[in-house]
Symmetry: C2
Subunit: 312 residues, 2 copies
């Protein structure tokens, strides 16, 4: 059984006391620059600084008592690691995160800061999966995958649900695409509640596997992990590709320069910290302005976990 | 006649459709770190990115029709320049800003972006004042001083007024002190509406003229302008020193390292862009934690106009 709008509504009700209802902000200068009216859903102000808190919380809250006692495990060096650690801690559940031994100490510390146990492995997909399997085999912990998981996808879909409640009708919505969890949840919510909406995914040109996968209707391999938008280096899985095709998502891309430029615009104009992955939708819009002229566009600012330093 | 709480209430009513009622945010991690409960009044999310929009708007809206026709002038290379330009533009009033010829082009461009005419002068107080006097003499424009002006001070006091409405009782409030406009308005509001409140000013150790002036009850000369908190390099004037003494403000200082540290904490935890001057109160609190233990403290995050770059 796949994720539907009513499952997303149930998720929203379930998690509402454990995650923030994030604000939506607007900015006249950016609207002028872009030639459309933009509504920024501030998931950078979400718990743990990213929308990932939604999906992780929704999954954690549906564990059985038996599963809860055995704990959860995932592999992630990004926001999902912190999100799962945060969500598990809220419910007194043990959480183990498998991370590559090359992970930045700031991410390791943040994950441990939420009380998770971190297990290191080599920085290859095989090493990650084997380490994870070993933990599952020995502890009977439940794996909570960052996006190949319907409960996680339903949780991520609650951001768009709130956005529509907060701003009313929109002509279009745009969100970043990495593994496709946020994009799937966004597409299910928007296509079902407002069928004529345009639903855009945005990804770096250097990680355009989702665009290729959708156009070919076949899962494509991930690109080399070199884009600065580190949250979008992962590829879709069959499950998320299925949702994106089913709900008619079109993907547009952004060059690296545009991502930095969009990040700078958001930081200097909105006065909000936005990580590179979160700026990708705005970057892609900058490169494809004509698609959005005169429209009311919802933009999911997915996260704010980036280190910024003042330039004096 | 000096500024009172009722004059500040009138200012709040006057400007309410032209400036933002900025949000107040809280953060559990920072509270834990500081040992108190902090309420951040986000004037970094104000129009033009700083509380200065309040005072400038309040002054502009009280010009007579005759004065409005002749325009306004000020000298500032900081947030007041943009604030006056913004406020003047809302009412179709000409605005001239005298800036040192060494001003960063980003500030000049921002001021011009709001439609002001920029006149350059040498980077000395004498050159600024002479250039300003020449403009006043030739155009009959009205000078709107950044802080030596009761209408400006009344406008700045509306930030604390909103803060108290938004969060209820506070044990203490803290704001940065440069020329003393924001501090005067904050002190008048808080001392009058909640007499037992502790009212703290915060300034860089490298620009501690307000501390010296209050302790000696005599206006002290400005320090050399070297602190990174560029908005706080100016000294008090007799008017603002008078308000600070009358309303029992105590000033504490922060070292430069602590200012950078506080800025980093605010940016990484709140996901909000805060300029060095805006981080000075938190830096001063970090250096004087014992003064705040267990208290409910309102903190005015004065502005967010700083250029930040990602650290990869």
């Amino acid at each position: 059984m796949s994720v539907t709008l009513s499952i997303i509504r149930e998720a929203a009700e379930r998690i509402k006391n454990h995650v923030h209802r994030t604000p939506v902000v607007t900015n006249a200068t950016i609207d002028k620059m872009m030639g459309c009216t933009m509504f920024f859903k501030c998931e950078n102000l979400q718990k743990v600084g990213a929308f990932k808190a939604r999906g992780a919380t929704n999954a954690i809250m549906q564990l059985t008592a038996d599963q809860a006692q055995r704990g959860v495990v995932t592999h992630s060096s990004g926001n999902h690691a912190q999100a799962l650690a945060y969500a598990a801690k809220q419910f007194g559940i043990a959480c183990t995160v498998v991370m590559p031994d090359s992970s930045p100490s700031v991410k390791v510390d943040a994950t441990r800061g939420y009380g998770a146990h971190v297990v290191f492995c080599e920085n290859t997909l095989i090493a990650r999966e084997e380490t994870l399997k070993h933990i599952v085999d020995t502890t009977n912990a439940t794996e909570i995958h960052p996006y190949n998981n319907d409960q996680v996808i339903a949780g991520q879909g609650t951001a768009a649900l709130e956005l529509l409640e907060q701003v009313g009708d929109l002509d279009a919505v745009i969100a970043p695409v990495g593994g496709g969890g946020l994009m799937s949840g966004t597409a299910i919510t928007c296509r079902t509640s407002r069928p004529p909406m345009q639903i855009w995914g945005a990804e770096p040109e250097l990680a355009a596997d989702a665009k290729k996968s959708i156009e070919s209707k076949q899962l494509q391999a991930p690109f080399p992990p070199i884009t600065i938008a580190d949250g979008l280096r992962t590829a879709l899985c069959d499950r998320t590709l299925g949702y994106l095709l089913q709900h008619d998502v079109t993907v547009i891309t952004a060059k690296e320069d545009a991502i930095l430029d969009a990040m700078h615009t958001l930081i200097s104009r909105l006065k909000l910290v936005v990580e590179p992955s979160g700026a990708v939708p705005v970057a892609a819009m900058m490169e494809h302005k004509d698609l959005f002229t005169g429209k009311r566009v919802g933009v999911i600012l997915s996260g704010g976990n980036v280190e910024l330093v003042p330039k004096f």
